[in-house]
């Protein structure tokens, strides 16, 4: 009989995650069903809990937590290499968020620099409460910087040299950066052509063109949630392949690839 430890985790859905301590020889399906069965027998306290086996948790999250903690500690210890790693790891994402708020590439670049100036100053001087959530900390600074810039407030001078963030790496080009509108339209047409069910095509139209939410679409079309997700997943997978192929061809034509 496996032994269970119960560890509430806020995973943003209000669910309780039960951590399962199993023997090495227990297979995945067995451990999942056993854990659920056993939890239901715990006097009803966890009767509505959904068991999320740890082996299915996202390994990238754990990796990010470790990297973030190391960067935070490194900056606190005066390691300039850690500051470089901070810029390398988070500049693309922060620039993406800032661009969505400013719709101006130059402005986003300036705000990104301000964000890193503030962040590095703070990280050098103070201990971060949750080092593993460095990304959340940086996002918070970026949002405040963007808000302040939007309100046209005067910026306070930063007590550090700007050279520290002068080495923000250029954004690495991504696979869909050079997709032209014509390519997108052609890819969408090909996608629609590959979907024989009118109802499946209508799901996409309602979701993306009419901005309806999933519940409304499922109700209107008499669909269950799983079918909706399946159609959307397959459509995106197909669309990605079509667009990747198109983007590769465009890159080759423009001499961006080989």
């Amino acid at each position: 009989m496996p032994i269970f430890r119960h560890k509430p985790v806020n995973n943003f859905s209000g669910e309780i995650t039960a951590e399962l301590a199993t023997g090495d020889s227990m297979d995945v399906e067995h451990s999942s069903s056993m854990s659920l069965q056993s939890l239901r027998g715990l006097g009803g306290r966890l009767a509505s809990a959904r068991v999320i086996p740890l082996h299915k948790q996202d390994p990238a999250l754990q990796e990010e937590a470790q990297i973030a903690a190391a960067i935070v500690q490194g900056i606190r210890d005066g390691d300039t290499g850690a500051e470089t790693r901070l810029l390398e790891r988070y500049s693309n994402g922060l620039r993406f968020l800032l661009l969505r708020r400013t719709h101006d590439d130059e402005r986003a670049r300036d705000l990104l620099q301000d964000t890193f100036l503030i962040a590095i100053t703070k990280l050098r001087e103070t201990d971060l409460e949750e080092p593993a959530r460095l990304a959340g900390y940086l996002r918070g600074i970026a949002i405040r910087v963007a808000l302040n810039a939007g309100r046209r407030q005067r910026r306070e001078p930063y007590p550090m040299e700007a050279e520290a963030v002068a080495q923000i790496p250029d954004r690495e080009p991504r696979q869909f950066d050079y997709v032209a509108r014509e390519q997108t339209l052609a890819a969408v047409h090909k996608l629609l052509s590959s979907m024989p069910m009118k109802r499946d095509r209508e799901i996409l139209t309602r979701l993306y063109v009419e901005d309806q939410d999933k519940e409304a679409i499922c109700e209107a079309l008499g669909l269950d949630s799983l079918h909706f997700n399946r159609v959307l997943f397959r459509a995106k997978k197909r669309f990605r392949k079509i667009l990747e192929k198109s983007a590769r061809a465009a890159d080759l034509a423009a001499g961006r690839g080989n």
């Binding site: 990304a135 696979q175 939410d213 192929k245």
Partner: protein
Amino acid sequence: MDRNYIEQHLLVDRYIQGRLEGSEQDAFEERLVWDQSLIDDVQLAEHLRDGLKGVSAARADVADSPGFDLVATVAGLFAVPQYAAAASFLLAVTLTIGVLTSPFVNLGGQSDTPALQTDIVPLFTTRGENAVEIAVDPGTWTVLLVDVMGDYPAYRVTVRQEKPGGELVWMQDGLLPTYPESLAIGMPGSALPTGRYVLTIEGDLTSDTGETIYERLQDIPFVSNPAD
């Protein structure tokens, strides 16, 4: 935020719709800060949304075009009993999508911009040596309506001159069977100067891996005559 949670709750789509709020948005954007693949997913969904909106807008533009005589076109279709029931549907969907937004290859060097005045011509399969005769105005856009067989997600249509080594004058792929067993193939009348042609319909057997294979379904000979 766990990647499985993001996928199960459609957070990428809700994010680009502006439907995420509070802690859900905070956690999603926190992941965006370090997860480049999530940024790719957001950009992909935006491309899909923009493309679908573009296709939808193209439909609306055509339907609203001042030169698009909806009444006359519907009346013309009603003259052909077998298409009467499908007329409105064909006009609203097939014509606009199939003609105007299909990626097509115009080998005749004609303009890609369709003429606003459009002639719709049913093209029937005939037996023996007979070929359907159609009247084509080179100054207008011609839509050939054909029956198709089989259950394919999409079709490709080619038109060649009917002679040995006949020149390919038109090709259009990605056509949707938007009404049972019917397709609308749009092309400028100028691509069909007087002569004999063969229209070939092929079914698109695009596989899950994206490889496209065409299966030949039928050849329909026809004769293009100048319109009065």
